[in-house]
């Protein structure tokens, strides 16, 4: 009898032992379901409805997706803008980050420079937008002041109201913000490259440029892949910085002729603007989601094939 009780107790303990891990992860899982998974699934659900958040939902099936892809030229404009910003800014920010890392790596006292260059990355994007809006303000911005003082321009330039300049400023903001981050990642990567490889190459007569191109750059390839991939994902979600450039301005949302309207900005306008089309906004987000996944997969595949 005692023996049977002992076996049952041990069995229970073993069962409980299996249950405990699940109990401990349960809070996280519940929070994840409530605050991540459920909103994602729910937004997918409402993407099939015409709904302003107040009136009853009207089922429209795929109409939101069809309208976005076939009728909404502003969606294509925002997508083109976003892709162009990503295509221009990523090579520059990654390239400059690599260059800065290569120049700083051999230095003994590089902490201060590292901190200075990394600083923009930890500044809130909204603050960066506000800083650039002030810098390029046509009346008070010191860019105009400096250029006028240097007699480069005779009349003040409306930087933020010119389509091309506005676009360029957004790209500059992106590069300025992310370059330091790329540099830090590359610096971390450089510490893991074995000095023996460099020494062997030096014995074979390689100069500094050859060392950089034939050893440093290939050895940092995993970092480059990581940086490019995360930059694409982040770049496609660009919103705060360009939006803040025009905060409080009479200019239409999206800059002059929507030249800096990004996909997420368009989403905010559709879902939370005067029309309040939550279903339409949700459909837009899911299209962006598909685009991001497609880009990530293609990029991963390309880089994997090269490996």
């Amino acid at each position: 009898m005692k023996k049977n009780n002992a076996i049952t107790l041990r069995g229970r303990k073993m069962q409980m032992g299996r249950v405990w891990p699940y109990l401990f992860v349960l809070p996280y899982l519940l929070c994840y379901f409530l605050f991540n998974l459920f909103p994602m699934l729910y937004s997918f659900y409402i993407s099939f409805f015409d709904w302003n958040g107040v009136s009853p939902k009207t089922l429209v099936g795929m109409q939101n997706y069809v309208d976005l892809l076939t009728k909404d030229s502003l969606f294509w404009k925002s997508l083109t803008n976003t892709l162009a910003m990503v295509a221009i800014s990523i090579p520059v920010q990654v390239g400059l980050g690599l260059l800065a890392a290569a120049l700083l790596f051999p230095m003994k006292h590089k902490r201060a420079m590292e901190s200075i260059m990394f600083l923009p990355y930890i500044i809130a994007p909204i603050a960066i937008g506000a800083i650039f809006a002030n810098m390029f303000d046509w009346q008070f911005g010191y860019i105009n002041e400096v250029l006028s003082h240097l007699q480069v321009i005779s009349e003040k330039v409306y930087w933020l109201q010119d389509e091309r300049w506005a676009f360029a400023i957004v790209v500059i903001m992106q590069i300025w913000r992310h370059m330091g981050y790329c540099m830090i990642i590359y610096l971390a990567g450089m510490t893991s490259i074995s000095s023996e490889i460099y020494e062997a190459a030096k014995i074979d007569g390689a100069n500094s440029v050859q060392l950089f191109w034939h050893i440093t750059v290939p050895q940092l390839r995993p970092m480059t892949v990581f940086l490019v991939l995360t930059s694409i994902i982040n770049g496609l979600q660009l919103y705060e910085m360009p939006a803040q450039l025009y905060a409080g301005s009479s200019a239409a949302s999206g800059g002059p002729q929507f030249s800096v309207l990004t996909v997420i900005w368009k989403f905010i306008n559709d879902a939370f603007g005067p029309k309040m089309r939550l279903g339409y906004g949700a459909a837009l987000c899911y299209i962006l989601f598909v685009i991001i996944v497609a880009f990530s997969m293609v990029f991963k595949k390309l880089t994997a094939e090269e490996d």
């Binding site: 401990f24 809070p27 409530l34 302003n52 030229s73 002059p256 005067p274 029309k275």
Partner: protein
């Protein structure tokens, strides 16, 4: 045993953590999100308090302009002891987004919804406001001026909102400048300088001659366009067809004519720092001005009161126009609609209630009773009369501009987008001195069409 206790404790902690993470904060503990009013910080439209038990009910309004809200709070505290009136300052640019978020989540929707003129089409479309002509309110729209009714009714023709202020507009001018450059300062004499647009152009050219660079007729192309567009109101949205050309061509052409004639206009974007500074720096002669502008534009930009007594007011060339304005309505699901209606009736419908607003803020109302009789409050001076050297501009506005003014255009689901695109186009005129009326129309049509692909924009 120890292990069991440890496990039990761990479980309790884990569950507590989960409950803490998921718990909704008690409404009574919720701190104010934006500039809470008064001493209380409960900002949700409270269902606390039961008037039947003699308890206070909390009424929440979202709006901008703290001075008027504070005044209302003081008056309500005295006049309606059963109501605890609270306000939340919400910037007009954020109002729609914040309101929609509140509506979608079903929390924190204010009992009193304030709607700025540019947002009215969108807010009325949401169908969240009570019909004030239906029971139990039974408001009679005949109490209002006909001109304001289109901007207070939704697409079904229901009156869902009442004006905070009546907004006929003219020119405020700096007497010292008109005296300096033209030798006149009295309203009739100054109006003679700008009695029509040809006179305005001639006066502008003379100003350029006598004052040289740096002194302007108006703050900029933006203000000129706003005036011209305001004067030429007519219905231009029919269902899904938006006739931009028919609505804006005349105004754009006149603005270009004035600009190309060489009339000195400032290059200030509306509400920019320089635009605000122009009220005190002596660089501009004429300012678009409604009754609300004295408090919001002149007094707020001249804290030192350096221009007090130097202002005058006259008609603008081409007549009056409706300039801006806010209105308020009752949220359909407010638990205290009766109390909200008491407040609205008092301030928006009674002479006694509006008198304090007139006296302290300088606004004038849209209901006729306020202006009737020899002892009508409009005949009295108000707080800002001394800014205009004793000229009662509110009475001037009512007598000379308000009576017979052209009505607002009806609101449409497209109204907000059209207004936003007009502002953007006006900005393009401001920064591009070569832009023609046709180019402006094309720009505006393209902007609207891109945002409203289902509409026919011409």
């Amino acid at each position: 045993m120890k292990k069991s206790i440890a496990k039990l404790l761990a479980l309790v902690m884990a569950v507590s953590f989960l409950l803490c993470a998921c718990a909704q904060p008690n409404a009574d503990d919720q701190p104010g999100q934006e500039s809470p009013s008064g001493s209380q910080t409960t900002l949700a439209p409270s269902d606390a308090g039961n008037p039947d038990n003699g308890e206070k009910v909390t009424i929440v309004e979202w709006s901008q302009g703290e001075k008027i809200l504070k005044l209302k709070q003081e008056i309500i505290a005295e006049k309606f002891p059963n109501i605890d009136y609270q306000y939340v300052l919400v910037n007009n640019n954020d109002y729609l987004t914040k309101l929609q978020s509140a509506l979608a989540t079903g929390t924190d929707v204010p009992d009193i919804i304030t709607v700025e003129i540019t947002n009215r089409g969108a807010v009325f479309d949401l169908d969240i406001l009570e019909n004030l002509e239906a029971a139990p309110y039974n408001y009679d729209r005949n109490e209002l001026f006909d001109a304001v009714i289109p901007a207070l009714t939704n697409s079904r023709g229901e009156l869902v909102s009442l004006d905070n202020q009546f907004c006929p507009s003219g020119f405020a001018y700096n007497r010292e400048l008109t005296k300096k450059y033209f030798g006149v300062e009295e309203p009739d004499d100054v109006f003679a300088l700008v009695k029509d647009w040809d006179s305005f152009i001639a006066t502008g050219l003379k100003l350029k001659e006598v004052a040289g660079d740096g002194v302007y007729m108006m703050q900029g192309m933006f203000d000129l366009l706003e005036l011209l567009v305001g004067q030429s109101t007519h219905e231009f949205i029919d269902g899904d067809t938006i006739d931009v050309t028919g609505r804006y061509r005349e105004a754009f052409e006149m603005a270009c004519k004035i600009r190309d004639a060489g009339v000195p206009l400032g290059n200030n974007e509306k509400n920019s720092t320089t635009w605000n500074a122009a009220y005190t720096d002596g660089s501009v002669l004429f300012f678009n001005h409604a009754s609300w502008s004295t408090n919001s534009c002149i007094a707020s930009n001249d804290k030192e009161q350096t221009t007090m007594g130097q202002w005058g007011f006259c008609m603008a060339p081409g007549g009056g126009w409706m300039n801006g304005g806010t209105s308020i309505g009752i949220y359909k699901d407010s638990p205290h609609k009766d109390e909200v209606w008491q407040i609205i009736q008092y301030f928006q419908g009674s002479v006694e209630g509006y008198e304090a607003i007139y006296d302290r803020i300088g606004w004038i109302p849209s209901f006729e009773a306020f202006y009737e009789g020899d002892d009508a409050p409009i005949n009295n001076d108000f707080l800002y009369s001394n800014w205009f050297g004793g000229q009662n501009i509110c009475k001037y506005i009512y007598d000379n501009i308000g009576v017979g003014i052209a009505p607002y255009e009806s609101l449409s689901t497209y109204s907000t987008v059209v207004t936003e695109c007009f502002k953007d186009t006006a900005l393009q005129f401001l920064i591009n001195p070569q832009m023609t009326a046709d180019e402006g129309l094309r720009y505006m049509i393209q902007s609207i069409q891109m945002q409203e692909p289902n509409a026919t924009v011409k």
